[in-house]
């Protein structure tokens, strides 16, 4: 009982200073505790609210803070309950609440704060002292749900790391647990080992928070080597942190405190762990597990080490199973029917016959395919898409025509690769994009310029000035040709406007616009008719790492250091959607081919898929061990590939939300991924100066789609990445930073030559 009271006092003292900085962050997830194992409360004797003990005076404030917090989050029911129980007056702002009730309720609340520990204690000791029982007692059952929802949350906010054990014992606790886990059966060991990393971090942070500098250092040195190698980056950040003051404003740390580390453990293993901790009365660890970990328990066989390794590695553990349950309409939208003139199929014929122009609607295989509505496709008008213009139709026709001449790629017919080297870029090339028809190439540079090249003999021309335009005969047939200023024709144009390195670049599908995002926090829209900046979209206040146009134009997505991805429309200066949830920088952003979804990759080593319509996060994909720098969707919209600094390419099934492949081979960060036009080949380009080709057809074909154990989240990755590797092409000191398949399936690659 004494310990509990101490803890309560501690929490009361610390809350005032903690409250302000933590509250904003915790508001993101009110329901995260509902999956909490029901270990805490059962077995606790019936509540007796009347027997509240008086406690330290500081706790009145605690209670007020709690109330304020609850109100802020509109948890009126809980407020009601708390108020009723604590006997506080109706106006929480009234600071003159009676001393006795205030302190009394403070005791109650503080008891709740350590409730879990208390209840555990009571269970362990089997014969709880009455006082402890009353303090720890939750409210009556009907209201318990509501209170149970919030209380641990508040608890995190108020008393994070304040339960102070003996710093020397941390070492003992941890090594005790380590010994235990090493001694359990093999099948459980891998699962339970997952606990190490979050425990280690939280224990370290507790030590640091409580100013045990020497102990924390010793603790870190002793156990940091045991952690999985893919946490090395985070550990490096942790290691630099040795003072309580440092914890303020450290992002990694806030992430740890505000979000629960998610573990997936089978019921058997979990029981094992629980029993051990209870036997050993290891409260310290148990408290951390209760408060900072989210353990997703599943029934069935424990997972193997490789299965766990495949999925772990993200900053906040694995994704919860239910976060990937939402239905995703991954099918493609129906293509608008366009009449494809048959006649110019054969150019010679056309030349002989003059210009017959029969205008027969063409019923080829492509047309038929688009007629059938894909059951997985979203409604055609699920999100409003821009109308097709005549020029777009023309482009579509060109596209179809090219498609008929497309090389059918496969294992035996690999694509030719044409490499565009940027010479004399002085290490300054940061982003590259090609237009869909491969006629233009744009590069973003560290010196904040953007350059556009024409790779066809057609030169880039600017539209004439307004004065000159007024002189043009607007009725003439070649007015589009006349508006261009022949004098400005050149092979490349430079766009000035950014004030920092340009990190992302994207052409609009109709080739009229170019987007660029930069370190200066803006996204700029450039016209490729006038080669001037049209709009600067301000919203990200920090560097914007990536941007991309929707495949249908009009919309675009951007993401950056502020951890928020924004969806914009070109004619709005404010974003239409903000996708928040990543725990670290958003490093890359990609549109789904049907434009209804957006994928973002992040430094927190997760990929999230967002619904453009609702703004919800519909998939969280974990498994990468480094910041994700490349994402590509397969042309049928069903699959996704992602590449990270860890040099691995992961393949995902979007519908089921699970990993289906792991392509190993690259030795450095992967900066670009692209599927061939038919989705049969996946090309990846990396910092290790190679382009690699993978057999995507085989990777997706071999899936046993019926055997998906999406319910348990078990994955069985085939170890065949070497069979899938079709080719490795080494460049000469040129990192590959962009890849693009032309409409005929010729692979274009780009990078800066760095001798």
């Amino acid at each position: 009982q004494f310990i509990l009271k101490m803890a309560a006092v501690q929490s009361g003292q610390s809350e005032t200073e903690e409250e302000k900085e933590i509250q904003p962050e915790t508001s993101n997830d009110g329901s995260r505790t509902d999956g909490r194992p029901p270990a805490g409360s059962p077995g606790v004797p019936a509540p007796s609210p009347g027997a509240v003990k008086p406690s330290a005076p500081g706790e009145e404030e605690t209670l007020r803070a709690v109330l304020r917090f609850l109100q802020k989050n509109n948890l009126s029911e809980s407020v009601e309950i708390l108020r009723r129980e604590a006997g506080l007056p109706d106006e929480p702002e009234d600071q003159t609440g009676s001393e006795s009730s205030g302190t009394g309720s403070g005791g109650q609340e503080a008891g709740g704060g350590v409730g879990d520990a208390g209840s555990l204690l009571s269970r362990v000791s089997a014969a709880p002292t009455p006082a402890a029982a009353t303090v720890a007692a939750p409210p009556p059952p009907p209201s318990k749900v509501g209170a149970g929802d919030d209380r641990p949350d508040v608890n995190v906010v108020l008393s994070a790391y304040s339960q102070q054990g003996d710093p020397v014992l941390y070492d003992v606790y941890y090594s005790g647990l380590k010994k235990f886990i090493e001694s359990v059966l093999d099948c459980h060991r891998a699962e339970l080992s997952q606990v190490f990393y979050p425990l280690f971090v939280h224990m370290y942070l507790e030590l640091v928070y409580n100013n045990h500098e020497a102990e924390s250092k010793a603790f870190f040195e002793k156990f940091s080597g045991d952690q999985e190698c893919y946490y090395a980056d985070d550990l490096r950040i942790l290691s630099s942190l040795s003072k309580k003051e440092h914890m303020r404003g450290n992002e990694t740390l806030l992430d740890f405190r505000t979000s629960k580390f998610v573990l997936r453990i089978s019921r058997d293993s979990y029981q094992l762990l629980k029993r051990h901790l209870q036997e050993r009365q290891n409260n310290q660890i148990w408290t951390i597990i209760q408060e900072h970990l989210y353990i997703d328990i599943f029934d069935g066989m424990p997972r193997s080490k490789s299965q766990i390794d495949a999925m772990s590695g993200s900053l906040a553990g694995e994704a919860k199973r239910d976060s990937n349950k939402a239905k995703v309409f991954y099918g493609l939208l129906k293509e608008p029917e366009i009449e494809v003139p048959l006649d110019d199929e054969d150019e010679e014929v056309e030349n002989e016959e003059g210009k017959p122009k029969k205008k027969k609607p063409k019923k080829d295989s492509l047309g038929n395919k688009s007629k059938k509505q894909d059951p997985n496709a979203p409604q055609q008008n699920r999100i409003p898409l821009p109308e097709l213009k005549d020029s777009d139709k023309l482009d579509k026709i060109m596209n179809l025509k090219e498609a008929t001449k497309r090389v059918r790629l496969g294992r035996d017919t690999l694509p030719s690769i044409c490499f565009y080297s940027f010479l004399n870029a002085y290490q300054g090339l940061t982003a590259v994009d090609f237009t869909d028809d491969s006629s233009l190439i744009a590069g973003g540079y560290a010196d904040s310029t953007v350059r556009v090249w024409s790779v066809t003999p057609k030169k880039l021309r600017r539209v004439k000035s307004a004065a000159d335009l007024s002189l043009i005969d607007k009725e003439s047939d070649d007015v589009l040709e006349r508006i261009m200023d022949e004098k400005t024709a050149s092979e490349s144009k430079i766009l000035h406007g950014h004030s920092g390195p340009v990190y992302g670049i994207s052409f609009s599908p109709d080739r009229n616009y170019l987007l660029s995002c930069s370190e200066d926090g803006t996204v700029r829209l450039w016209s490729l008719q006038t080669f001037t900046c049209l709009v600067g979209y301000k919203g990200h206040n920090y560097p914007v790492w990536d941007t991309q146009f929707s495949p249908y134009g009009y919309y675009f997505i951007s993401g950056g250091h502020d951890r928020v991805a924004r969806l914009w429309a070109t004619d709005h200066y404010q974003p239409l959607r903000m996708f928040a949830g990543h725990l670290a920088d958003i490093t890359c952003t990609r549109f789904h081919p049907n434009s209804n979804y957006v994928a973002t990759g992040s430094s927190d080593r997760t990929i999230r898929l967002w619904d453009v319509l609702t703004g919800n996060c519909v998939r969280i994909l974990t498994g990468h061990k480094g910041p994700i720098h490349a994402i590509a969707f397969s042309p049928n919209g069903k699959f996704m590939a992602s590449g990270a600094t860890d040099g691995r390419v992961l393949l995902w099934d979007i519908g089921h939300g699970i990993m289906i492949g792991d392509l190993k081979g690259h030795t450095d960060a992967i900066y670009t991924l692209k599927f061939s036009r038919d989705g049969e080949i996946l090309a990846s380009g990396s910092m290790d100066n190679t382009v690699r080709l993978w057999d995507a057809f085989k990777a997706f074909d071999e899936l046993e789609t019926d055997d998906f154990t999406a319910t348990t989240g078990h994955i069985h990755l085939p170890e065949n990445s070497q069979e899938l590797l079709l080719g490795t092409y080494l460049t000469k000191a040129t990192p590959v930073i962009h890849l693009h398949f032309t409409r005929r399936n010729l692979l274009l690659a780009a990078g800066a030559y760095n001798p």
Binding site: S239, L423, S439, T645, L747
Partner: protein
Amino acid sequence: MAEERRPKQCTVVVPTESMKAMAESIGVGQLQEESCVALSDEVSYRIKEIAQDALKFMHHGKRRKLTTSDIDNALKLKNVEPLYGFQSQDFIPFRFASGGGRELHFYEEKEVDLSDIINTPLPRVPLDVSLKAHWLSIDGVQPAIPENPPPAPKEQQKAESTEPLKVVKPGQEEDGIQNKTQGATSAESKEGIILSEGYGGYSTLDYCMFVCVCRLQEALQSIATDPGLYQMLPRFSTFISEGVRVNVVQNNLALLIYLMRMVKALMDNPTLYLEKYLHELIPAVVTCIVSKQLCLRPDVDNHWALRDFAARLMAQSCKTFSTTTNNIQSRITKTFTKSWLDEKTQWTTRYGCIAGLSELGADVIKTLILPRLTIEGARIRAVMDGPVVSNIDKIGADHVQSLLLKHCASVIAKTRNPPDNVEQYRLDYGYLGPMLCSHVVKARTQAALQAQQVNRTTLTITQPRPTLTVSQSSLGGSGGPRTPSIIKVPSSLTLMSPRPGTPTQPSPPATKYIVMATSSGASSTQQVITLSSSQSGGTSTVQSATSGLQPLVKLESGGGPGLTASRPMQKYIVVSLPSSASLDGKGSGLTAISSSTAQLEAGMKLERSDSPGASTH
């Protein structure tokens, strides 16, 4: 490994002395020890934090090197004013100083005189960014062009030769290499440079070299620079060793010279791992140094130059390849010394031995040649002053004499102290003494002259080659990326047009001139005639060839792409001679013809397969 590093990360802090030093530098005199500790903790943490943020910028900048601008950006992220004046692309050297028990690292900033800056001519404007395209792969096969890295890096060639079993590792490596080798071989077959079928039965065959001096020059150039040749290396090596064997018997001086130049070219090629083939190459080279007879008319032909050249080659290979395990240098030295010491050795061989030894350097001359000068002098005198034995001997002795004089004089000039007394020399070196003396004097004056000139820096200006622009503009018209092997670019980048789609990189010329078998049996006799007639010319060019000729770009090859339809590639198919004076050469000659046409067809095919790709844009 990481585990060892991590504890270190945990503890690294800026030393408190630094804090003191910094405090003093801004005028804070007495800083409490405690505040120093607190400060250094804080500062170390902040620095680490900023460095971690800067890393982020590096990653997004797609670089491997952290730059000062990354730090600036990281500071900006924290709303801190960036450090101005540290815009350096290079490593900033910190200087170290200690004194008074203090150690200090500082960045040395020199005071700059403004007038200096104003008066120095402007530096060259950095070249503008340009875009160049080349084929990284054609239908899944990487063409061996200079824009691509060599099919197998030197390390891998080494691994293959030293640990043949290890190379084929299970897993990822395997695929890569197999792919690569497949790629390389098929690329070569496509380009039509695969050897004729004769390879299997080369004991009967012998390639001989053809000679058309202008072509040969290019062929050698190609051998010296082509990155994709390593697959051919075994054949080259056999070709050379067989060629030398045959031609020594036939006394075909011109061909020997070309073979030696080929060795030289191979050695010049930085992408080849030659170690594996030294057992074939070195005997060939040594043969060319010490063989009794290398030409039909030793009294007239200048086989001495060949010996000199081969000796230089030998010295070069000793320098590059000699290790403690293979002991090339000592073995070679032994060989030379042994045959030199032999009384019966002919003058030609003697000359070769001395040349070979003296090329190995001043030390070898000092220890091995100088002590024998007296004996050698006596021998020469016996020939010169004695009864005329034969003209050949006399010429030989004459050459040996001048050779000795040439090499020894410079060494003596360095080792012996100035007063050059003729008598003293005669005493020391016998017959050659007086002549040596005059040579030494000459060498000394020359050295003095050179010493004066050393200070003058030489400026080499490479002449821009106008042909280039021509070839590029012609390419520009055709549009789209092209197989770039046709375009030759000198090492200067200045001439690049901003036109994308013409792939060029600062690398050696790309055209492939592979010297290989094949020519018609009928014409072979003619070529032999050409051979002998060009002999004198050939020998005289040996010297210039070694001095790293960079042949000018030929207009015809630059403008190639336009013509390729009619003429598949710039391919110089080269020659075989009938086998060693026997008649069965006809058969091989015939097979050679058929194979040559096959190559041409392959070349055509390649062209065709290129063009659809190029027009897909």
